[in-house]
């Protein structure tokens, strides 16, 4: 189901919070996604991210989509944010990994 785009940073926070995998803290999620610092790090991570890693983190396809939607909203609300665009691409790639496994 498509997630509606957050219209404020408060809604971004809410979407990110409920899109964390069960039992995973924010720092654990960031560390295990290894999306790094800034757009370039996130884009480089696309080449190494695997289905097995996503499964190990406990991320679902819907959660990956929601993180992509959340960072798309960050891009709009904070146009100078140095990481959001790359993380949108990374999370969209994560969704594709789920799609490719059926």
């Amino acid at each position: 189901m498509a997630t509606s785009t957050p219209r404020s940073m408060v809604e971004v926070a809410e979407l990110m919070r409920r899109s964390l995998p069960a039992g995973i803290s924010l720092s654990q999620f960031g560390t295990r996604m290894r999306w790094g610092r800034g757009n370039d790090d996130a884009r480089q991570r696309i080449a190494t991210l695997t289905r097995e890693e996503l499964e190990a983190i406990g991320l679902t396809k819907q959660q990956a989509e929601d993180w992509a939607v959340a960072y798309e909203a960050v891009e709009k609300l904070m146009p100078e944010n140095p990481s959001a665009a790359g993380r949108v691409e990374l999370m969209r790639h994560a969704v594709k990994l789920f799609v490719s496994i059926g």
């Binding site: 404020s8 609300l77 904070m78 146009p79 993380r87």
Partner: protein, 196 residues
């Protein structure tokens, strides 16, 4: 190893010049730090406890930081912090729509303002951040000549990604009058309304 602290107020002191930043997650934002200065971070409880880590470049804060203040002998000063906590964006507004109306209403030799774009897009004059987001997108979409014709309400240039020099150069070449202060002279030119 991250340290977990109770949310709401986090104090960080940069005791070495080696630490140059605080990196904020989950937003992926970088805030530069001055050495030997105490900083206070206000954190809301969206993600529960705040976790703080340290790496070669500085601190990493995992939490929803809403405000950062620099604390020194003269009191505290809020750093320039762009988190638009209480602002929303209009869901239907698209930068292509902005480009269309700029093409229609703001020809060579004319300018409009952030406030006018905000009134047109959001019905109020002060949605500077979403207006800037729209302008940056239109700029990145290749419509630089048009976005250069949007300035601030006091005539200041808008500091889009290409910088103010190229904006001023274009506007001067189009005949837009400037004051010695570097602002567009609104005593000699009236900003175009996008609402009529």
């Amino acid at each position: 190893m991250a340290t977990t602290v109770t949310p709401q107020l986090v104090r960080l002191q940069n005791k070495t010049a080696k630490l140059q930043q605080v990196w904020l997650e989950p937003l992926g934002e970088r805030v530069p730090l001055q050495p030997n200065v105490l900083y206070e971070l206000s954190v809301s409880d969206e993600f529960g406890n705040v976790e703080i880590d340290l790496d070669d470049d500085g601190f990493v804060v995992y939490g929803w930081v809403t405000r950062i203040e620099r604390v020194d002998d003269e009191g505290s000063t809020c750093l320039e912090w762009r988190l638009p906590v209480d602002r929303s964006i209009a869901p239907s507004l698209d930068w292509h729509e902005l480009v269309s109306i700029l093409v229609d209403r703001v020809p060579v030799g004319c300018v409009t303002t952030y406030a006018e774009v905000s009134r047109w897009g959001y019905g109020v004059p002060n949605r500077n951040q979403p207006v800037r987001a729209l302008l940056v997108r239109a700029w990145n979409g290749g419509h630089r000549t048009l976005t250069n014709r949007v300035v601030k309400a006091d005539g200041s240039l808008a500091a889009l990604p290409g910088g103010m020099d190229q904006q001023r150069k274009q506007l001067v070449s189009e005949g837009v009058p400037f004051k010695d202060s570097g602002k567009v002279d609104f005593t000699r030119i009236t900003p175009v309304s996008l609402m009529n």
